[in-house]
């Protein structure tokens, strides 16, 4: 039975737009890029990690930064949050109560949400590398 990483990626002429499409898919839905590349274990791992971090951060009422931040930290936070793809847009829809700044849990939640974006970006880079044939 073929293992998760035994699929050949070299020696095949591919459309140069495919790695970009895979990267975009990996960004918008965590794990989708790996799913399209038939890397099932990695797809599940990245999805669970990103979803777990994002949903935990929302449950802790962390801050979801917007693109209209007034300071550089807010702008960096926005970029980090945006990395989680669909979870960012869903959180912007469902975050009606705002961040909980009265307790430490709100701070933890903010870090969880930012980490979910960074983890998903790691997945995007991994999927892009596999699609280009640079990685197994």
């Amino acid at each position: 039975m073929a293992t998760d990483d035994s699929l050949p990626t070299s020696g095949v002429k591919q459309n140069p737009a495919t790695p970009a499409f895979i990267a975009m898919a990996a960004w918008i839905v965590p794990g989708l890029g790996h799913l399209l590349l038939r890397r099932w274990a990695r797809a599940l791992g990245f999805f669970l990690a990103t979803a777990g971090l994002a949903l935990t951060g929302l449950a802790l009422r962390g801050e979801v930064f917007s693109s209209h931040s007034q300071d550089p930290f807010g702008a960096l936070g926005f970029l980090a949050d945006l990395g989680s793809g669909i979870f960012y847009f869903v959180s912007r829809i469902f975050e009606t109560a705002g961040p909980d700044i009265s307790q430490a849990s709100g701070d933890y939640g903010t870090r969880f949400i930012a980490a979910s974006g960074i983890v998903n970006l790691l997945g995007v880079i991994d999927a892009f590398g596999i699609a280009r044939g640079r990685r197994d």
């Binding site: 293992t3 669970l48 990690a49 990103t50 777990g52 971090l53 935990t56 790691l122 997945g123």
Partner: protein
């Protein structure tokens, strides 16, 4: 901290080319290091809080 370390370790293990067994070992190693470094830094910062 434990939950955060667990999820990030899973993500780290998913990246890169390794066998399943190596990935599990790597995830476990990352998880333990996260906890050890987190607790270590907390103890280092403890005198500053007093």
């Amino acid at each position: 901290m434990v939950f955060f370390a667990l999820l990030v370790s899973v993500a780290f293990a998913c990246a890169g080319s390794r066998s399943i067994q190596t990935r599990i070992k790597y995830a476990l190693w990352c998880f333990l290091l996260f906890l050890a470094i987190g607790v270590g830094i907390a103890w280092l910062m403890y005198p500053l809080s007093r």
